[in-house]
């Protein structure tokens, strides 16, 4: 399966009467986006209002609470469309050509539950910890219709964000990209014939799948309901996997992370040179122990069946997913396939506690995404998009987190993307 990505560099965003991309600037009519977003019945029923704002790198702006971050893309050639099974029809994606509005994101914000997470600071020390401070962000703040249940509202906001990103992505359809890049996954036999001497490497991608605010969707299917399976890496580039996770900002994989998976990018960089990147194996993180047993058995079985020499394993979340991570790693090692894990750590505020809730001697190759318990201080910023009402109650916050002078003392957990477990961040150990 071969996909060409065409990157259209976005250097500025401005509100305007006409929605278009011209010479690297996104001009957007907020009312047009709003009308498109509200064409969905669930959005109409559950989302009382949406309002738009723009946050640029370096501005003294804090966005909170953050639900999802999504990159606008559009399929210009080949089967399917972005976010198959959710926005586009459920056709197989990952081939043909897709345009990417690079350098920007659509950010959905606004509370869903009273302890809603996520802070993105566009400047200051907080900006160092999130990749989203480097993007031009079109923020859509949503509010809830009274009396609507939380799970209905979460679904509606999820759809609203994806629709907004779809509308913006469409503006890039007829724009000539600034750069193109091709990604190809060969069939099993073809790959073996072409790269007989390269180690066969796969990516075991664990998906958050525990319940409300803790879900991931694959072609629109709740990952709780899937058995471990195989997916072409390029399918993820067309939004085949989207996030319904909005608890614990630091280690959640936003939809932007799924679209721009750094493990996928780095494996493709090495494909045909130092390794043969065979495929992705996606598996879930259910709460029921027998499901964990089944899913991890299946991951190991597929690694063996595909004759892989090694895999990278990434997880999403804390606690319960740590058990899946260790089960996957242990069983894959036991069938003779080497593993390297990427994870973040909850090692206590002093960094001295065991980092994961589970461990095994076979899990001896680990790349860390940072310690989420580390305490940080965020200064007051001039403007807030969203509301600060939840800062005391978000994951990593505490009573008095939000100080009278507007500064925040909290654990690193509060910052969206800070200790991302795909390695899409700047923290590590040296």
């Amino acid at each position: 399966m071969k996909l060409e990505l065409g990157f259209i560099e976005i250097k500025d965003i401005q509100f305007s009467n006409e929605s278009k991309v011209e010479n690297g600037t996104l001009f957007v009519n907020a009312d047009d986006v709003k009308a498109f977003v509200y064409e969905d019945d669930d959005v109409k029923a559950c989302v009382k209002s949406v309002c738009f704002d723009i946050a640029k790198p370096g501005e003294s702006v804090r966005i909170t609470p953050v639900k999802d971050v999504i990159e606008p893309r559009v399929k210009v050639e080949g089967p399917g469309g972005e976010f198959p099974g959710v926005i586009a029809k459920v056709d197989t994606v990952g081939s043909g050509k897709t345009h990417v509005l690079r350098g920007m994101a659509v950010v959905t914000a606004g509370p869903i539950v009273g302890f809603q997470e996520g802070i993105i600071d566009m400047t200051g020390p907080g900006a160092e910890y999130t990749p989203f401070s480097k993007l031009l962000n079109l923020v859509m703040v949503c509010t809830q219709v009274e009396g609507v249940h939380q799970h209905e509202y979460e679904h509606a906001v999820r759809i609203a964000g994806l629709r907004a990103a779809t509308f913006i992505g469409e503006l890039g359809r007829n724009v000539t990209p600034d750069e193109t890049k091709e990604f190809e996954t060969l069939g099993i036999r073809e790959g073996l014939e072409k790269y007989p001497n390269l180690p066969r490497v796969g990516y075991v991608h664990m998906l958050q799948s525990q319940g409300l605010l803790h879900d991931t969707y694959v072609y629109g299917v709740d990952a709780k309901r899937t058995l471990t399976t195989i997916i072409y890496p390029t399918e993820t580039m067309d939004g085949a996997i989207i996030s319904g996770n909005c608890v614990s900002a630091c280690d959640k994989n936003t939809t932007y992370h799924h679209q721009n998976n750094p493990v996928v990018a780095d494996l493709f960089e090495q494909h045909g040179k130092t390794l043969n990147y065979v495929c992705n194996i996606i598996t879930n993180e259910n709460v029921y122990l027998a499901d964990k047993q089944r899913s991890s058995d299946w991951s190991a079985k597929l690694c063996r069946l595909l004759d892989l020499d090694g895999v990278i394993v990434s997880q999403e979340g804390f606690g319960n997913p740590d058990t899946d991570l260790i089960m996957n790693t242990k069983k894959i090692e036991q069938v003779g396939v080497k593993t390297t894990i990427i994870t973040d750590e909850y090692a206590g505020q002093d960094g001295k506690s065991q980092s994961l809730a589970d461990a095994d001697p076979l899990a001896d190759a680990v790349v860390t995404g940072g310690n989420a318990n580390m305490v940080i201080e965020l200064p007051k910023l001039d403007k807030v998009i969203g509301t600060l009402d939840y800062v005391d109650k978000i994951a990593g916050g505490h009573a008095g987190s939000l100080r009278p002078d507007g500064s925040i003392e909290a654990e690193l957990q509060v910052i969206t993307g800070a200790t991302n477990e795909m390695g899409f961040n700047c923290l590590s150990a040296r």
């Binding site: 539950v113 009273g114 302890f115 249940h149 939380q150 799970h151 209905e152 958050q208 525990q210 319940g211 409300l212 605010l213 803790h214 709780k224 996770n245 608890v247 614990s248 280690d251 959640k252 259910n286 709460v287 029921y288 122990l289 027998a290 964990k292 979340g317 804390f318 606690g319 319960n320 740590d322 058990t323 909850y346 090692a347 206590g348 505020q349 506690s353 065991q354 809730a357 589970d358 318990n373 005391d392 109650k393 994951a395 990593g396 505490h398 009573a399 957990q413």
Partner: protein
């Protein structure tokens, strides 16, 4: 297939008690905090009750939410060392987090109850939304 007849839900979550006690055995311990629930589960697992769900479900950290529900077997079967290790690791993981002293509003408490409830429903294959609708209709 989920073996619902053997489930006992150990919980301090009033929403779980309200919705699920009609369908499952629920050991409702409202006076126990999150850690105490973990200890109760640990003691049951040591006594041979099977552990059906992972006690650290959810990404809301143990020092943030007051509510915890865990599913064990109604009766003891045979003590399982792996399950005992899981629950004791959970107690250790809990102790890594600094206690937070926050006054939580009824709305926030309700939201924490909801998350714990939906994670539990996801684990046991009970339709969480349907359960809430039934509760709404009873009021």
């Amino acid at each position: 297939m989920k073996n619902g007849r053997d489930f006992m839900i150990v919980t301090n979550n009033p929403l779980v008690e309200k919705v699920l006690s009609k369908y499952y055995e629920v050991r409702y311990l409202p006076e126990e905090n999150y850690r105490a629930i973990l200890i109760t589960v640990r003691d049951l697992v040591y006594a041979g009750h099977k552990l059906y769900t992972h006690p650290l479900s959810g990404s809301v950290k143990p020092n943030e939410t007051p509510y915890k529900s865990v599913v064990v077997s109604k009766v003891p079967h045979k003590m399982n060392a792996d399950e005992a290790a899981i629950i004791s690791n959970c107690v250790e993981a809990y102790d890594k987090f600094t206690p937070r002293n926050r006054m939580l509003s009824d709305k926030v408490l309700g939201d924490f109850q909801l998350i714990d409830y939906t994670l539990l429903c996801g684990a046991v294959d009970y339709d969480a939304a349907a359960g809430l609708s039934k509760l709404d209709n009873q009021i």
